[in-house]
Structure formats: C-alpha cells, structure tokens
C-alpha cells in the first residue's frame, strides 16, 4: 500500500516535469532542431559591433557558437542554411536595465535590502518576453527596483522563452546589485501615509548616510571574517566564526570587487556623491543607470571608470528628469565612458534598435558606436562580453536577422537566435496564427463565460497585468504595479 502511494506520489510530482520537458522538446523541434548541428546564415550584411560591417558575409553557427564569419563559408551536408540575401544581421540586443520576468520589483520595506534576490521571482511565461525576442532582444539585466538606497541583487538572463526559469539564467555572469539615489530611495513620491512613520532616509543627505552606514558595517563585518580566517590559518582552534549576515555579505563582495554596483541616479550631484563614497570605501560603480545628468559630470564618471546606461531620449516624466537631454549618450561616449542605451520598459525593450539609432541623430555618434550601445557596451558593463555582444568567432550565436538596416524604422525582425537556436521566427509565428485564432474563438464560445444557474456572476473584464515600465519609479512597496502611463 505504501509502495503504491509512493508510486502515485512520484507520478504526481514527475508528471508536470515530464510535461515541461515535452514542451521544451517541442520548442526545440519547432525551432528547427538546429541546436546540436550547424546553421549557415548566408549572404547577409553583417553588423559585427566589434569590427565594422561586412557585406555579403556568411555566419557559420556550430554547437551554439559562432564558428566562422566571412564570405563563402562552407557548412556540413546536414547544416540548416538560411538565405539572408538583402537582410541584415546584428548581435542579439542586450538590455542593461529591465524588470521583465520579475513578479515583483521592489522590496521597499527597508532602505538596505541587499539580501533580496531577483532570481527568486523569475516568471518565464510572461508574454512580453516573447515580444522582446520579436524585437531582437536576447539578454536582459534584471534589476531590483529603486525604492532603496541599496536594493536587491540582479539577475542576467537570456530570453529562452518556453524553457524553465533556471535555463534563462546567464551562467557565469558576474553578480550585481542595484543601488538608487535621489527621489526614489528618499521616498518623496507621495509615500507619506498618515499615521505611518516615514521610512528613513527622506533626503539626499540621508541616502548618502545610509550607503555610508551600510558600507561601514560591511567593512566591520569583513574584518571580523578576515580576523577569523587569520586565526584559523594560525591554527587557533578556539576561533569562533562570526555570525553570517545575508545583508552585508553582498556588500563585502562589492568591497572585494566581486559584485557589480548598478546605481539608479538622475542628478549630477548625486552621481558625484556615490563616486565619493565608492572612492572612500575603495570600490567601483560598474554602471550608473538612467544617469540623466551624466552629461554634466561626464569627466568625473570617466575618471572613476564607471559605465553609464541611460535612455536614448526619455525626459520630463518627473522633476529629476527635467534636465535629461538626448545628447547625453554622445557627450558621455566622447568623454570616454562606455555607454549602453537601455529600456527600463517591457515596451521599449522591443525596439532598442530604434533607441540606438537616436544617438546617431543626437550628437552624431557613428553607426558602430550607436550599435554598441545596445550590444557590446552592455555586454562589457555586465561582464559578459567574452560570450555575447558582438559577432565574433567563439562567441555565443545570439543573432538577429532584420529585413532592413536595424536603425531604419521600416526594419522588422525575421529571426532571433540564442546560442544557435531560433527563439523567434516571424514566418512560424504567422503560420501558427490561424490555429490560435480558432482556439481563441472556441474559448470565447465556451460556457465558462456564462453565469451558472444561481451561481456567481463572472467578473468584469480587466486589463492584463500591467507591463513593467519605469518600475523603478512605482510607489508601491513590494507590489510593482508598473504601467505604461508613467
């Protein structure tokens, strides 16, 4: 009896896993079964992002990597051949600031939440992920919100839509953490609920002090571990290990240069403030996010060695963004800063190619400089440029085939590859539509939409879960509640 029960239990537990596996298999088959073998993309205009544009070039993909790039490449007999004559190929687009896939954004209860991890709330089924693939985006830097001076830990993912969340995670990407300065961490956005004490800090002074306090504690904590390890190595058997502190551990990693700081910021003064603290405690800010007034302090950012990840041209949506100018990327690039252009929006993440094109218009960056803002530069900023960000032999075959130059408003994505597999294919998408439409109509006709005799009324229609956009700026603690209306 117990045996039977165990068997049943095993079945119950395993069945969904099998189902998922089958689905993943199906996706792989649908993708053309090319993951193990070779794919040859032929006769394309290839925008490498690292070494210029190649005309009439082929790209050979083998085992998920770029095996060769150049004219007249030969592939094996079983290789899948994609004729890309008249088409353009770019590296997969990398979005250095995203909240897609996160079921919740802000752990806003404390001003230091370095222990919270975005990887614990990944939702791989969000349809916006597919829509981003359909815009050529393949890699996302999933950031915690900006409710806190020191927020939670980030997760870098590839959009392997259709797979379990664990497969999305970019293995080997250096860990990072979100910081935030200014209006959001000081909770000035109407968080003053009568009867509820205000959360510290409430000023930019307090934000500075909060970060300083946290790193002072982290330094003490690090010293206690260093002392303990030193005692251990001396053979001191009486040494007692310090109590682990999950809040301070990530900050010690920052002090040791093992965890990247991605800091939300707007105003020039707060950018300088964080640089001062970082210099004082001996760590580097990896990227300033948004950094809308970065153009005012470009030389200081460059001297510190930080990267910058602004919007292309968003401005005026809040007081802190009133001095944002679309020339920001160009000014900072010319100052020697590595700049990426990000979306911070499930919507804009679908057309970062157009956002990149804007930095040519505003400030006159070259085509390759512009392309790098959404490919190679974010890869460098995230420490994954050995794997992704350009079309070079040995890198992951994360590629996008476009119908026209990707900086043209008339361009459309035909296919998006991640590690040689097709994760978006417009032709397939179109081919599936009639079936989906039929299924939808069946569901709409189904009795489930009618109230049962004497039963409860069906609910009123509601909008879909709001997409994440500027979720950094959303007031709710814990509840993201983002929307496109900003």
């Amino acid at each position: 009896m117990r045996k039977l029960f165990s068997l049943l239990l095993a079945l119950v537990v395993l069945a969904p896993a099998v189902g998922r596996g089958a689905r993943a298999q199906q996706t792989r088959r649908a993708a053309g079964g090319a993951e193990a073998g070779e794919t040859l993309i032929r006769n394309a205009t290839v925008l490498t992002a690292s070494h210029g544009t190649l005309q009439n070039a082929d790209i050979l993909i083998r085992n998920g990597k770029i095996a060769a790039v150049g004219p007249n490449l030969k592939a094996g007999a079983n290789a899948r051949v994609v004729d890309a004559a008249g088409k353009f190929v770019t590296p997969g687009i990398i979005d250095c600031h995203s909240h897609s896939m996160l079921d919740t954004i802000n752990e806003g209860s404390l001003s230091v939440t370095s222990m919270a991890r975005t990887r614990d709330v990944l939702n791989p089924t969000d349809p916006d992920l597919y829509r981003e693939l359909a815009g050529g985006t393949t890699t996302l830097n999933l950031l915690h919100g900006s409710a806190n001076s020191i927020g939670g830990q980030n997760t870098v993912v590839k959009i392997k839509y259709g797979r379990p969340a664990a497969e999305f995670i970019f293995q080997g990407a250096p860990p990072g953490i979100k910081f935030a300065l200014g209006e959001n961490p000081k909770r000035s956005n109407g968080f003053n609920i009568p009867g509820v004490p205000r959360r510290y800090p409430a000023t930019r002074m307090g934000v500075e002090e909060t970060i300083r306090d946290a790193f002072t504690r982290a330094r003490n904590y690090k010293r206690s571990w260093d002392d303990y390890r030193a005692a251990q190595s001396r053979g001191d058997k009486a040494a007692v290990p310090p109590r682990r502190d999950l809040q301070l551990e990530p900050l010690v990693e920052v002090l040791e240069g093992k965890r990247y700081v991605h800091s939300h910021c707007y105003r020039a003064d707060e950018i300088l403030m964080l640089i001062r603290i970082a210099d004082e405690f001996g760590f580097k800010v990896r990227t300033f996010q948004h950094v809308l007034e970065g153009y005012k302090v470009a030389k200081e950012i460059a001297a510190h060695g930080a990267g910058a990840s602004p919007f292309a041209d968003n401005w005026g949506y809040k007081l802190e963004a009133y001095d944002a100018i679309p020339y920001n990327t160009a000014v900072m690039t010319r100052a020697g800063i590595i700049v990426s252009v990000n979306s911070d929006s499930d919507e804009r993440a679908r057309r970062l190619n157009i956002e990149a094109a804007k930095v040519m218009k505003y400030g006159g960056l070259t085509e390759e400089e512009a392309l790098r803002t959404v490919t190679l530069n974010p890869a460098i900023q995230l420490g994954i440029d050995k794997r992704v960000g350009s079309i070079d032999v040995g890198k992951d075959a994360d590629l996008v085939i476009w119908t026209a130059h990707p900086f043209s408003v008339y361009a459309r994505v035909e296919q998006t590859y991640i590690e040689g597999e097709v994760f978006f294919d417009r032709a397939q998408d179109l081919a599936r539509r009639a079936d989906i439409q039929r299924e939808r109509e069946q569901l709409e006709r189904a009795d489930a939409n009618r109230p049962a005799e004497g039963g409860p009324q069906p609910g009123a229609p509601r909008g879909r879960r709001p997409a994440h956009s500027h979720d950094d700026d959303q007031p709710q603690n814990g509840d993201d509640g983002g929307n496109d209306n900003r």
Binding site: P127, Y130, R131, A134, E183, S188, Y295, K296, A298, K299, D313, W315, G316, Y317, K318, L319, E320, A321, Y322, D323, I325, P326, Y327, V331, R334, E347, R350, R351, I354, A357, K358, M360, K361, Y362, G364, T403, S408, V409, Y410, A411, R412, D429, R433, I436, R440, P456, Q457, P458, G459, A460, P461, R462, G463, R464, P466, D473, G481, N483, D484, R486
Partner: protein, 492 residues
C-alpha cells in the same frame, strides 16, 4: 539634429542672451560680443530686457531654463518674412513629389510650389540641394502645454484634468503655456501642430489645435475649441467610472454593465439638455414672445457639438466601446472621432460603414491582452487602411515623447502600412480629421507654411531636421535640450 549645423544670426544672439544669466562665469560680455550687428541698435533695449530676464529667471530655479527656450523675440512676433526654399525635393503629400523644386513662403502662407516658380524679389533664399521639404507633422493625441512634468513633482504645472465629471466648458487653449519646454523640443523633430486635450471625467473639456510657435495662447491656437473630448464609458476601464484603470476594483459583469449604462445615460441626458437648450435659445431669438432661457455655461459650451458643427472626440479602445460611442454619436447626431482605437481594426467594417475616423494612439503600446499577437498594435494602422477606414497616427503621449511621432508611423509602415500612407497618417490625415485639412497637412499653395526641411526620410530616426518653418516663420533650431547640450558638451 545638429544645432551647430546652422548659424542663423537670431539664434546666436538669443543663445547668448540665454547663456548670460546661466553662465557659470557670470559674465555679461558674451551677450554683447555675440549680438549680431543687426541688433546693435537695439542693444540697450536688449540689455534691459536681459537684466529683467536674469532677475526673473534666477527666481525660477526650476522652470527658468525652459522659459528661455521659447521666449523669443523676432522670429515669433511681428510680420513673417518671405522665403524661397530652392532646389529641394518637395514631398507635397497631397500630390506627386517634386524632385527639384522651389517652395515660396510669404505672409505665413505657402505662396508657390513647383519645379519652375518665380522667386519674388526680397525673398531670403535657402539652398536646399540634397534636402527634402515636408509638411510639418501633426499629433492629435497630446496634452502639450497643459503639463510640464508628468509624475510627482510639479502639480502646479499640470492643468490636464478639472474636478468633476462633466466639464465641457473647460477649454484647453486658455491654460496652454506657450513657454513650456515641450513646445520647442517637439517642433525640433518636425512635429509642428498638435491637438492638446484635457483628460479625465466623463466630458473632459474642449481640446485646442495648436501650431507649436507663439508667445501667447492666442498666437498658438489655430482652432481654440477644436473638439469636445468625451471618455466613452466602458466595462472595466475608461469613462472615469469606478472600474477605471488597471487594478481597479473588480465587480461582476452585471454590475459593470449597469454602471456603464448609467454613465452613458448621464452623458445622453446632458447632451439632450444641451440640444433642448440650443433650440430654446434659437426659438427665443426668432420669437420675442417666447421666454429666453438663462445662459448656462455648461450647456452653451455643448451647443456647437450637439449641432454637429465640430467633432466630438471619444476616447475608446475596446471594440464594444468603439461601437457604443459611434452608435451613441449617431443617436445624438454628433460628429464622432475615435481616440485610442486599439481594437478599431476588429470593427473596421463598422467604422467604414459609419464613416468614423480613428486617431490611433497605441502603435507602440504593448498589446492589451496576453494572448494578442506580438504585432497587433504595430499592424493596427495597416488593417484600418486596408479596410478603408479614415485614420491617423498619434504618439498618444502627453508631451515629452510627442517628438517621437514619426517613429510610430514608421513602425506601422514596417508592419504593412504603405510608406506614403504612413506619412499621410501624421500630416494630411490628422489635419483632415480635425477639420483643418484646408489649411494644413500638405504642401499646397495657400496653406499655412508649416514646413520641415530634412536631410532624409521624415519618418526615419537618423534623419536630421535642417530647417523649420511654422506659420511661415523661420524657427531657430534651439530648444532646452540643445541649449543644455551646448552648455555642457565641451566641459573640461
């Protein structure tokens, strides 16, 4: 655009004026050294104005800079000049392109267009070899001038929504701030006219049609009360009802329908009252023996709309709401325009049959439903066009992103809308839909000279605006953004 690409004298002098009070060096010398010789005579006057401005702007720590951008003297007021744009590719929109032609601008109007036209004596000629001339773009879904900063910060500069449900007597044009930073930023990307509309409630108010140049609301408003704006009540959102918005309270479907019907009834009653009021007023005018009803500001504001003299813009996105709004408008003999129109393609034949135009505001929005195809919004315009529905494309943004209007049209063209139609959808079609098609939207003799000179396709992101005319005035390519850029780009 590159601000350094053109060095017009007024630009230099004005930039210097602006720079004077903002300059870190605090020196007044640049003002005078940079003043063009043409302005020397006016130097004293300018200096006086400068000191006044400097004092004023120091007080306005936040909004001071933007005030500078649009504050302008010679190009904005006074008699517009005579110009001839020569050797340009002229994209007339209403007719065929002219590969090498001339546009003559005089007294604010387009005086001549063609391959062989006589340039009047005294005209300032602009050699546009290798450049193109387009009509300025028009966005019918904005709140430019009513709102400076959208979130948490400057509510004193937000004038989009009145208190209460029915505000037909709220007129957007009276609270348009001509010196908003958005005005110059928007026109610098080729968007030269907007419909700026109040928001919220059931009847939000009356929208104004603005040309994006002028020192006063009077100068900017081409049509002061261009349309009545109604949020057509819907189920689960829209209409300002209790179910409005995402995450609103969930009721059951019967309650939602009852509430929707009550709100439609509320709207119907008000419009019927306005109709009765209009007839009573008219009757009293004709027959002195009849009692004249007291003037009612709410009802009298509605009169031109219940008479069908001006368009009524219904905000509606779902298919049911769109259909409801059109039927409602026909019942009350209104002249409806749909604003939003996400699901308009689903009721395209209905819209065609009733000849109701749509202002699409959601091209670059994420699809409304999780099971929508990824390109459902991108394709809306193409589907309406194929079905023969009158439509235009709007950015759907209040102010800051209105300048990106061409990329909304471009995306529609990437997904099936013919390129020429995409261009019309942001020029001629919006002009026609809002009733100014005889004055704007194409390059034709007699029309208002709102013209954009570009170095490429107007809808392409990489294209730069090289010259700009609004109301026949040559507009300096200067905005809050170019000024901040100039100030910081060479900071050592």
């Amino acid at each position: 655009m590159k601000p350094e690409a053109r060095s017009q004298k007024p630009v230099v002098s004005r930039a210097a004026v602006v720079g004077a009070w903002r300059s870190e060096r605090g020196a007044w010398r640049p003002v005078f050294t940079a003043l063009s010789s043409r302005l020397v005579a006016r130097r004293t006057l300018v200096a006086v104005i400068c000191s006044l401005l400097a004092a004023h702007c120091t007080l306005l720590t936040v909004f001071g800079q933007q005030a500078s951008t649009n504050m302008g003297p010679e190009f904005m007021d006074g008699r517009p000049g005579t110009y001839a744009i020569r050797h340009a590719r002229i994209v007339t929109v209403s007719g065929a392109d002219i590969e090498d032609g001339t546009v003559v601008i005089s007294d604010g109007r387009i005086a001549a267009v063609g391959a062989n036209v006589t340039v009047p004596g005294g005209a300032e000629t602009i050699d546009a070899r290798g450049l193109s001339v387009y009509p300025g773009m028009i966005d019918l879904g904005t709140a430019v001038g009513l709102i400076e900063i959208t979130e948490n910060g400057a509510t004193g500069w937000v004038d989009t929504q009145e208190v209460g449900d029915s505000n037909p007597n709220s007129m957007a044009w009276v609270s348009v701030n001509p010196h908003s930073a958005h005005v110059a930023v928007t026109r610098l990307n080729g968007v030269t006219s907007v419909l700026t509309a109040p928001q919220g409630g059931l009847i939000s108010g009356q929208a104004a049609f603005l040309n994006l140049l002028g020192s006063t609301p009077e100068a900017m408003a081409l049509v002061r009360t261009a349309a009545l704006v109604i949020n057509y009540p819907g189920l689960g959102g829209g209409g300002g009802g209790p179910f409005g918005g995402f995450g609103g309270q969930q009721g059951n479907i019967t309650e939602a329908i009852n509430t929707r019907n009550q709100r439609v009834e509320q709207l119907r009653k008000l419009l019927r009252d306005a109709d009765a009021y209009a007839r009573a007023q008219a009757a009293a005018t004709q027959d002195r023996n009849l009692p004249r009803p007291d003037v009612d500001v709410v009802l009298s504001a509605l009169v031109p709309y219940v008479r069908g003299e001006r368009p009524v813009v219904f905000r509606a996105d779902r298919a049911g709401e769109i259909r409801g709004a059109v039927q409602f408008a026909e019942e009350l003999k209104l002249k409806p325009v749909i604003l939003g129109g996400d699901d308009a393609w689903q009721v395209a034949s209905f819209l065609k049959e009733h000849n109701v135009p749509v202002i699409l505001t959601g091209t670059l929005n994420l699809p409304r439903r999780e099971d929508d195809f990824y390109d459902v919004q991108y394709e809306q315009a193409a589907k309406l066009q194929q079905a023969g529905v009158r439509f235009c494309i709007s950015s759907g943004d209040t102010a800051a992103d209105v300048r990106n209007l061409p990329y909304h049209a471009g995306m529609s063209a990437a997904f099936g809308l013919p390129k020429a139609e995409a261009l019309k959808a942001v020029t001629l079609y919006p002009a026609q839909i809002i009733g100014v098609g005889d004055r704007l939207g194409s390059i034709e003799v007699g029309k208002i000279a709102n013209l954009v000179v570009t170095d490429g396709d107007l809808l392409e992101t990489r294209t730069n605006i090289r010259d700009l005319f609004i109301n026949g005035r040559r507009v300096p390519l200067v905005s809050r953004h170019t000024e901040l850029y100039e100030q910081f780009k060479n900071r050592k």
